[in-house]
């Protein structure tokens, strides 16, 4: 039987762990609120951008010499997979599930005989992918210095990707991140960045009411597209990273919440055991005294 001192020590150590997880949960909760606000504030821009672009894209798609960012390079030999994860751990299955989804995609692509390149945003995804796909990782973006993600933090990443695309280093770009649904649920999402893919929103798009062809364009459609498409890549990336940040905090909050609860359960169990042991020791002592007295 464990002795009393050991049990006491266990209880103390679990209690201090619980204090830490509780604090982390609280911090995550307040960060989550901020991250969520940022993600929501970024939504209008990305949505408008998408509306305008999908209108424009329809009118240009059939035309020869349409921008490569829109229609693709014509081949699909090389794929770039962007894996966006967090910089810190202790957030449940958040990073693992993103990496898992990305890994499945990579396996599928490799099986189909395509060349895969990987770009990691966030240290955690990199450490997980490094072992298996180390030689495929072409770039790791470290955002651990960045506290509040701003558009100016993201545009260099987008520029780098676009630069490599222009140098025909790959034909397709797919982005993996976790979309924020609620603090409890984050949805791992695969999004094709290049060539630009637009979700078909039947009926929803009528809010704007006007088809792309009615607009007068200044400068020409093609020129507008050629400035808008690269910006769209940056905007989509920015939105994805904001969603990711909110998801990360949400995942951490739930993970830390259950850790705190587990610690509480453990303390209860240990305290019970401690009390039982203590009682047993007292009973034992009493028996010894009584039997000693009887022997006299």
């Amino acid at each position: 039987m464990a002795n009393l001192k050991d049990l006491k020590n266990r209880i103390n150590s679990v209690a201090s762990t619980q204090k830490i997880t509780k604090a982390m949960k609280m911090v995550a909760a307040s960060k989550l609120r901020r991250a969520q606000e940022a993600a929501e504030a970024a939504r209008p821009y990305a949505e408008r951008m998408e509306n305008v672009l999908s209108g424009l894209a329809d009118s240009v798609k059939g035309v020869a010499g349409a921008p490569k960012l829109l229609v693709g390079t014509g081949t699909d030999k090389t794929h770039l997979v962007i894996v966006a994860t967090s910089e810190r751990g202790l957030c449940g299955g958040f990073n693992t599930s993103i990496v898992k989804a990305a890994r499945l995609k990579i396996q599928e692509l490799t099986k189909a005989g395509k060349t895969v390149k990987i770009l990691c945003i966030g240290r955690k995804g990199f450490t997980q992918l490094q072992r298996v796909y180390g030689e495929k990782i072409i770039e790791v973006v470290d955002l651990s210095e960045v506290k509040n993600l701003r558009f100016s933090d993201v545009s260099p990443i987008a520029d780098k990707v676009l630069g490599m695309f222009d140098a025909s280093e790959f034909d397709f770009v797919t982005l993996f991140y976790a979309r924020f649904k609620s603090a409890l649920t984050q949805i791992v999402t695969e999004q094709q960045l290049i060539p630009a893919a637009f979700e078909e929103k039947e009926g929803e798009a009528k809010g704007e009411g006007l088809k792309g062809s009615i607009y007068e364009y200044e400068p020409e459609e093609k020129e507008i597209l050629s400035t808008l498409l690269p910006r769209n890549v940056a905007v989509q990336l920015f939105r994805a990273l904001l969603e990711n940040a909110a998801s990360e905090q949400g995942a951490r909050m739930t993970a830390m919440d259950s850790a705190t609860r587990n610690a509480g359960d453990m303390i209860d169990r240990l305290t019970l055991q401690y009390n039982r042991t203590r009682q047993a020791a007292i009973t034992n002592e009493l028996i010894e005294i009584i039997s000693g007295a009887e022997a006299l």
Binding site: A38, A41, A42, P44, Y45, A46, R48, M49, V52, L56, R150, F151, E208, G209, L210, I214, Y215, E216, Y217, E218, P219, E223, I224, T227, L228, R231, V235, F238
Partner: protein, 138 residues
């Protein structure tokens, strides 16, 4: 009031980080890539990229316009709405000349101190940006 509504249209200014303005206005002057244009209610639908410059937002007749510096983006005009998506948008009244000049000098110093190409590029970008802002304020 009814008359007011006829003479206004819906204006939105959106930057990637947030929705900056969302209100009814009577006129907006937009620095288009191929020249400034004034957007009034019932404007023909236009889609235009914008050059770095100042937006003049008129909330009503006779009122002094609210000035906003915008950079990199485009304007979408429909008869009842104007949506401007700008990569960067700053209210001009929040900028002060002396402050900007100070920042430009700082950035120049950064450029001289820059060791790596990356730092140099950053400093140069900052200078270009601040100079644009300064011309906008003047």
């Amino acid at each position: 009031m009814a008359k007011d509504q006829e003479n206004t249209f819906h204006f939105e200014l959106v930057s990637p980080e947030r929705l900056l303005m969302d209100m009814a206005v009577s006129a907006v002057r937009v620095p288009g890539a191929e020249g400034d244009f004034m957007v009034l209610p019932n404007h023909a639908p236009v889609m235009s990229t914008i050059r770095p410059g100042v937006l003049d937002v008129y909330e009503g007749e006779g009122k002094t316009p609210e000035q906003v510096f915008v950079r990199g983006g485009f304007a979408e005009v429909t008869p009842g709405t104007l949506v401007i998506l700008a990569e960067e948008a700053v209210l001009v009244k929040e900028l002060s000349k002396s402050n900007l000049k100070q920042k430009i000098t700082d950035a120049r110093e950064d450029l001289e101190d820059a060791k790596t190409d990356e730092d140099k590029r950053k400093a140069q970008e900052a200078i270009a940006r601040l100079t644009e802002l300064l011309t906008a304020v003047n």
